[in-house]
């Protein structure tokens, strides 16, 4: 048996970054203990329901999982060991960390849980960038965190954000330079995307504070590079990271040979995974579903043993094609037809033959991939797939 992938969501953060729209909650949340309890319950219940399968990969994301105290990590570890088979060991266990909240004791606790890979939310390596993004850690926190992870034999992934207010091409080059000099195995580069509608996650913060966030975002959006500027920054990353020996294997992800993120590849290859925790998504038996983003609602749902919310609008053909196209390997229409039938192939082929995608995709035999320009205009391609 090949096993499944598991995503575990830990929403707690020391402070809220003003651009963030993940499912987050304050570290001091009154619901923290109950949340961790509910999480353990969900893990136990889902593990049993699935017949205690083997876990191929685990990804502990957030939020800021790294701020959990060692006893909390130990509790999660115990739940995981009880809920799922751990032999053979998962091939990859990633935990996300904020450079400021990492210390040796915490790292050791995660090491106990079997972590093999640390994903560092650096975002920028310059003081100006961190300030522009409203982040609380300092540039020097990042090399220290990388050092600590390395000393425990962990692989290191670094997340960067480009297109922050006032960022020049030169500054972006410097961020990339500094990051590459740290020698990470994996790099993710995301454009700063500012959602101007309030999301469900703000409800987890006392007083919500959407007004202030909105003001921050509107001001930031006004002095962000325009989309042409963002396209240039993206092109710089493509060119520069290729030269530095990183493979641009997904729209926003680059990796050294042999270091692509196996867990995230499960998503892109349309594989099966279970997601536990608030706002976590799952894809099991061809069904997409998720848990509510609100902590209170999540805890309530687990205590009542309520099922996940099913995504009724899911269309396996469209979803699989969009996900596959995100990867540099693209979509192989011959294999797609074998797996999903000739009609599905026909639908996808027709969409990818539309005049609107000329220059955005490349065909070679039965394989279709996004061109470099197609990657930054990917939605122009994907929208053709929507019926």
């Amino acid at each position: 048996m090949r096993g499944i992938s598991l995503y575990v969501h830990l929403p707690f953060c020391a402070a809220r970054c003003p651009y963030c729209d993940f499912a987050t909650a304050p570290a001091s949340s009154a619901l923290r203990a109950r949340y961790l309890g509910a999480l353990a319950t969900e893990i136990a219940r889902e593990g049993a329901a699935l017949g205690r399968p083997r876990l191929r990969t685990i990804f502990v994301g957030g939020g800021t999982p790294s701020l959990l105290d060692p006893p909390e990590v130990a509790r999660l570890d115990a739940a995981l060991r009880a809920g799922f088979a751990h032999r053979p060991r998962p091939r990859e266990v990633t935990v996300e960390a904020n450079p400021a909240t990492l210390d040796r004791a915490r790292l050791e606790a995660w090491r106990e849980l079997g972590v093999t890979r640390l994903s560092l939310g650096a975002q920028s390596l310059s003081a100006r960038g961190l300030r522009a993004l409203g982040r609380t850690h300092q540039p020097e926190d990042v090399p220290a965190a990388v050092e600590a992870a390395r000393s425990l034999g962990l692989r290191v992934a670094i997340d960067l954000i480009f297109g922050w207010p006032g960022q020049s091409v030169g500054e972006w080059r410097e961020d990339l330079d500094t990051a590459v000099a740290l020698g990470p195995d994996h790099l993710s580069c995301y454009p700063l995307e500012l959602e101007l509608e309030p999301e469900a996650s703000i409800a987890n913060w006392p007083g919500a504070g959407w007004k202030g966030l909105e003001r921050w975002r509107r001001t930031a959006a006004a002095c962000q590079p325009d989309d042409r500027g963002l396209a240039v920054l993206y092109a710089v990353a493509q060119r520069y990271l290729a030269r530095a020996g990183y493979r641009h294997y997904e729209i926003s992800n680059w990796a050294r040979e042999g270091s692509i993120c196996l867990h995230n590849s499960t998503y892109w290859r349309n594989g099966p995974w279970l997601g536990v925790g608030a706002g976590a998504h799952s894809h099991l038996g061809g069904v997409r579903s998720c848990r509510p983003v609100s902590l209170a609602r999540y805890i309530g749902d687990i205590e009542r043993d309520a099922p996940r919310i099913v995504d009724q609008g899911a269309d396996e053909t469209v979803d699989a094609a969009i996900l596959a196209l995100r990867l540099d390997t693209g979509i192989d229409l011959a294999r797609f037809a074998l797996r999903r039938g000739a009609d599905a192939r026909e639908r996808v082929a027709r969409a990818l033959g539309a005049t609107g995608v000329v220059g955005l995709v490349r065909w070679s035999g039965d394989r279709v991939t996004l061109t470099p320009r197609g990657r930054i205009l990917a939605s122009e391609v994907f929208v053709q797939l929507i019926p």
Partner: protein
């Protein structure tokens, strides 16, 4: 006259928009027991979803009711009519099927422009009018002022005027009694050959074309062979009946009665509103008077966004025409938009409703061009050519004169708002013909004004300048010379005929600049730079560029959440469906409509 015929009363309810016709009809249906209390719901006769949504009546509805007066049972045929100015034609058709009209006046508003327009129509057709002051349940009302309105503008006597509330049901009994005592029974010869007037029609999937008729002479029964006199189409009647308010089959309809005939005919051309139904075996010699055909006021092209939908659009228009006699259309081809139809509408509301019905009831994605009036062009060779599509305006060198339609406009407005209203009218090229007073507090202004000015926001601006109190009615006055030119638009270097518009010469350059600025804001960014230019007589007068789209990607795929991404893509896709590919450029519906307001300031 037969006994049965003596006890029939045909009447309609007419009023200005929103004065409570449909609400009062609810009370009539209730008190006469036509609709059981448990089946009753508010605005029963506004059954189209669009009517409910917009809160206005769009289509007239006929209903059969029974009422006992002085121990005699009467058959009452009610027609609830729309009040909006666009649907005047619907009212005049309904009036032709009636001997009486209940004229409602909202006590809080008094007589308004369509109160007069509809009352005059009823007087012209020789109907008995029962004036009713409605909504008397409202607080702080001035009955005397409204009575004064009715006395001075329409010549009613105080004793004739009834009071009612469609909300509380007050006065409803008296209205029904008045219908029996004041409205004459239908004239008509029961022994003569059948003549029934088609005053409306609708299409039913099972019954085919269903004609709404008023039997004028003779009678008609199931199984009769009938003949439509104008189109000479014969058919055997499979079903006939009455509306109560749903269709209820009957064996026959007698002289003076109102009901429906399921003709079994399939196409609109065979069954025209205004035609006369007679018996195929014993036909009448002369058809009934009929109606003047509806005169469309504004014209627009309607095109499917996907060219494969053209047959479906033709089908839908044909069906819609069966339910809406005033819609006219003919095939048209646009270089930019492909195959479509030039449609004529009674007004902008009518156009909006047709568009929405095509989209909702027939599930079509369509693009409508900006509405235009019909110009008349006198060529240098002496021919007179009607132009209802700006792009077809002939070359100035072959044109002797262009004429545009003018309207007689009636505005009723409280005296304190007369100033702002006059100012507005002046800016719209209107000339004041007359100013009188309907009562001590309200003035009636009569203007002559170009129709092209009436259709652009005039009503909205009138409302805002009078704090909502002004009302408006208009009718065709005739054609007058106009000094106009064709303003053309080029998108990505290609002339787009559907964005052409006819504007006044002295405002043309200004309009060109404005339009181009607006279009820049409305045409979404494409994957390349899109220049937009305005030209007059082949000369470019202004230019702007829609910058190319450089980034459109949902970079994060966090935790495998594809649901949110798909939703965003679906939104983008829905937007695309409302756009038309013109050459390489996708142009949204709003861009075509922006042309209408070309010479207003861009925001």
């Amino acid at each position: 006259m037969s006994d049965a015929q003596q006890r029939i009363r045909n009447f309609c309810v007419i009023a200005h928009v929103d004065h409570g016709k449909t609400t009062l009809s609810d009370r009539l249906l209730e008190l006469t027991g036509t609709v059981a209390a448990r089946e009753m719901h508010p605005l029963m006769l506004d059954s189209m979803p669009l009517e409910r949504e917009k809160g206005i009546t769009i289509k007239a509805r006929a209903v059969r009711m029974s009422w006992t007066y002085a121990d005699e049972a009467y058959e009452l045929n009610l027609i609830d009519t729309p009040g909006h100015v666009d649907f005047n034609y619907e009212v005049s058709r309904s009036l032709a099927a009636c001997e009486g009209a209940v004229l409602l006046v909202d006590v809080s508003q008094g007589i308004e422009a369509q109160t007069l327009a509809n009352a005059y129509l009823a007087v012209e057709q020789g109907l008995e009018i029962i004036p009713v002051i409605n909504k008397v349940d409202l607080p702080n009302i001035d009955l005397e002022l409204v009575r004064e309105d009715l006395r001075s503008t329409l010549g009613f006597k105080d004793e004739e005027i009834l009071l009612a509330s469609g909300k509380t049901g007050l006065g409803v009994r008296a209205i029904l009694d008045a219908v029996v005592t004041r409205v004459p029974p239908p004239r008509g010869d029961g022994a003569a050959p059948l003549r029934a007037l088609i005053f409306d029609s609708h299409y039913d999937q099972y019954r085919g074309v269903v004609a709404h008729v008023r039997v004028v002479d003779g009678s008609v029964a199931v199984g009769d062979r009938t003949l439509l006199m104008a189109t000479d189409k014969a058919s055997e009647l499979l079903e006939l009946g009455i509306f109560a308010p749903d269709a209820r089959p009957r064996d026959r309809l007698l002289t003076g009665e109102v009901g429906y005939l399921a003709t079994g005919l399939k196409t609109v051309l065979d069954c025209r509103v205004g035609d006369t139904v007679t018996s195929a075996d014993a036909p009448a010699r002369e058809p009934l008077h009929g109606y003047r055909p509806a005169k469309p006021m504004v014209f627009a092209g309607i095109y499917p966004t996907r060219s494969d939908d053209h047959p479906a659009l033709r089908d839908a228009l044909e069906k819609l025409k069966l339910n809406d006699a005033s819609l006219v259309y003919e095939p048209e081809t646009s270089q930019a938009l492909g195959f479509g139809f030039r449609c004529g509408f009674l007004g902008l509301l009518h156009m909006e409703i047709v568009q929405e019905r095509l989209e909702r009831e027939y599930d079509l994605d369509i693009i409508a061009t900006a509405p235009s009036v019909e110009y008349q062009v006198l060529t240098t060779r002496g021919a007179e050519v009607p132009i209802d599509n700006p792009a077809m305006l002939p070359d100035p060198t072959t044109t002797a004169e262009v004429r545009e339609p003018w309207m007689k406009v009636t505005i009723i407005v409280p005296s304190q708002h007369v100033g702002p209203v006059m100012e507005l009218a002046q800016g719209k090229r209107a000339t004041l013909v007359e100013m009188t007073y309907v009562d001590p507090t309200r003035a009636m202004l009569r203007y002559d004004m170009p129709l092209s000015e009436v259709i652009v926001d005039f009503y909205d601006q009138l409302k805002s300048r009078s704090q909502g109190y002004a009302s408006l009615d208009y009718e065709m006055a005739g054609y007058r010379a106009a000094d106009v030119v064709l303003l053309e638009v080029l998108v990505a270097g290609v002339p787009v005929d559907a964005l052409s518009t006819i504007v006044h010469r002295e405002r043309a350059a200004y309009a060109g600049r404005n339009l181009v600025t607006k279009l820049r804001g409305l045409i979404p960014r494409q994957q390349f730079d899109v220049p937009i230019q305005a030209a007059i007589g082949g000369k470019i007068v202004s230019r702007e560029t829609v910058k190319a789209l450089r980034k459109n990607v949902l970079a994060k795929c966090y935790g495998g959440d594809i649901t949110r991404k798909r939703k965003l893509l679906e939104k983008q896709k829905a937007g695309k469906k409302r756009m038309k590919m013109v050459g390489q450029v996708e142009i949204p519906q709003e861009a075509f409509l922006a042309v209408l307001r070309a010479d207003e300031d861009a925001p």
